[in-house]
């Protein structure tokens, strides 16, 4: 995969074209977490869950936010009315990792950095896409980790962890990410 060291367009311009971003229509610039909320939804579009891990028909696709929620109402706005694999989306905010059981995507806030190892081992089951909002998240055993690069939101992916979680990540997404491995 190509290196991500080249200069990027500004976050401002990047956010302008987000079809699904609630910020797209606003006069002021999209914030970092508005972009991250959109990305969170877009990750789901390029990842395939094992059928066993999917919610039953009629149930919702759950995105859990573990720890201090940095989105405000941006995530709810982004996911409102959207579907993933023909299922409606719900956001569940949890303080403890045990409460995230049954979610398909777990966003791990930077507030969970001190107990990241424990959190990740608790979420190591199949069918859970872990997205971390801290540096080296993927390298420490997470699947997708956000990273800021010249004021643009980029991300790392740990493909080995994805395989372990029985998630199939689209090559398109892999191509855009910095691929890392756990040491």
């Amino acid at each position: 995969m190509s290196a991500r060291s080249l200069p990027r367009r500004t976050l401002v311009l990047a956010a302008l074209c987000l079809a699904c971003s609630p910020a797209a229509g606003r006069a002021d610039l999209p914030t970092e977490y508005e972009v991250k909320a959109a990305y969170l939804y877009n990750f789901a579009r390029f990842v395939e869950w094992p059928p066993a891990s999917l919610p039953a028909a009629g149930k919702t696709f759950v995105v859990a936010v573990l720890g201090v929620d940095p989105f405000g109402d941006a995530l709810d706005a982004t996911l409102a009315g959207k579907q993933i694999m023909q299922r409606d989306l719900t956001v569940r905010r949890v303080a403890r990792v045990e409460e995230a059981a049954g979610a398909q995507i777990v966003f791990i806030s930077s507030s969970e950095s001190p107990r990241l190892t424990r959190v990740l081992s608790a979420l190591a089951g199949p069918g859970i896409l872990t997205v971390g909002d801290m540096d080296d998240f993927a390298r420490q055993g997470g699947i997708i980790g956000f990273r800021m690069e010249q004021r643009k939101v980029r991300f790392d992916i740990n493909p080995r962890q994805a395989v372990r979680a029985r998630l199939k990540i689209s090559s398109q997404l892999l191509r855009l990410a910095q691929l890392v491995e756990a040491p």
């Binding site: 990027r8 987000l18 990305y39 579009r45 398109q172 191509r175």
Partner: protein
Amino acid sequence: MRTSARGPSIRGRLLRASVLTSGTALVTASVAFALYDVHESRRMLVRRLTTDARIIGSNSAAALLFQDEKAAEATLAALRAEPDVLSAGLVTPDGRVFAAYSRDGGPVAAPAAQPGLPHRYEGGVLVLFQDVALEGSVVGTAFIRSELREVSQRIYRYAGIAAAVFLASLLAALGIATRAQRPIAGPIQRLAEAARAVSSRKDYSVRAAAEGEGELRQLVDTFNAMLAQIQLQDEELRAARDGLEQRVAERTQELTALNGELEAFSYSVSHDLRAPLRHIHGFVDLLQRRAGDALDATGRRYLDTIAGAAKRMGQLVDDLLSFSRVGRVELRRGRVDLQRVVQDVIRELREQDPARQVVFRAAPGLPEVPGDPATLRVVMGNLISNAFKYTKTRERAEIEIGSKPDREETVIYVRDNGVGFDMKYADKLFGVFQRLHRADEFEGTGIGLATVRRIVHRHGGRTWAEGETDRGATFYFSLPLTGQEAI
């Protein structure tokens, strides 16, 4: 190719027809194929570029969603494999060019998409759009601008191939046509040559070679049959003509011989008659002188009758001899002054019979004509003395002698106001011993006009007469100006 005054030969026409036919078919086929090919190759280009755009789109959906221009540009750069693609790009739903590719590296502007029109042509450039969709939602649009060089090169290649095929086919057609027209044009050409030979050489033994098939063979056969017929008729005609000529020659010879014998016979008869006649005449004369007084009136009348008859017979014999002579003597060529001849004749006639009152009107312009002076003098003498003789019953006799010069001959006439004749006997007048009047009415032997005709004929001229009973007569003769002589 042989051509005649009336246009190209049949060979040329046949060749032209077949080459034209195949050429037209080839051109039509080539144009049709070329048009189809242009259409088809454009369709193929559109389809291929649409596929390219679709692949780019599906590979760029993530890049679009995650704002990764670099990745999108890398995907677009794959279009470098399409040398005709001028530019390409990904446009976000709000119309901004998100990533672009340009063959020459220049800036790329987004073309205006028209809904429902996935591709269009802008001045020889194909512009093509393809939506980038992810799970049913449109996340952007891919566009490709491409030249049609491939299509035009294909057309050029096609034109080149078509031209080569056209040339080759034309050559082949020419070759085939040359061979195919031979059994048609060949016989016709040779037939035409045969016809030409026949008409120019009048050689009806020429035959066209028996060749060809069907109607051609029939034509040749009919032509030959016609020639054979003509040849046969020609030979028959020639034979008939030759036979005729020979027969005429034989007859002429026979007639000439017979005529000669007759002439010789009549001459010798006439000649031999003279001697006994002279005796009769002489002794009747002696008898009259010696015993005339002793005889009574009846006896003297008998003697006078004998003397008169002998004298007339002598005249007859002389005339016959003269007639015979003019048929035999050689004519001398010379010039004859008709004016003088006529005057001499008139003077002699007046001396013979000074009692007659005759008005002679001889035109002063009587010409000098070419001919034999002695015989022409006989002609004028006979004609004028005839007129003199047959006007003796007239109180006022008028005789006119004149001429009518013509371009080829001179016509001389002698007109009188005498007893004339019935025109139905006009052609008998010039025969020997033909008399229209009784001998006791007008003396004469009936040989004069025959002699005239013979002399005139020997000069190459003609004689004829016009007259009416009791209204006078006109005798004509003509002499050719060239002075040709008949034999």
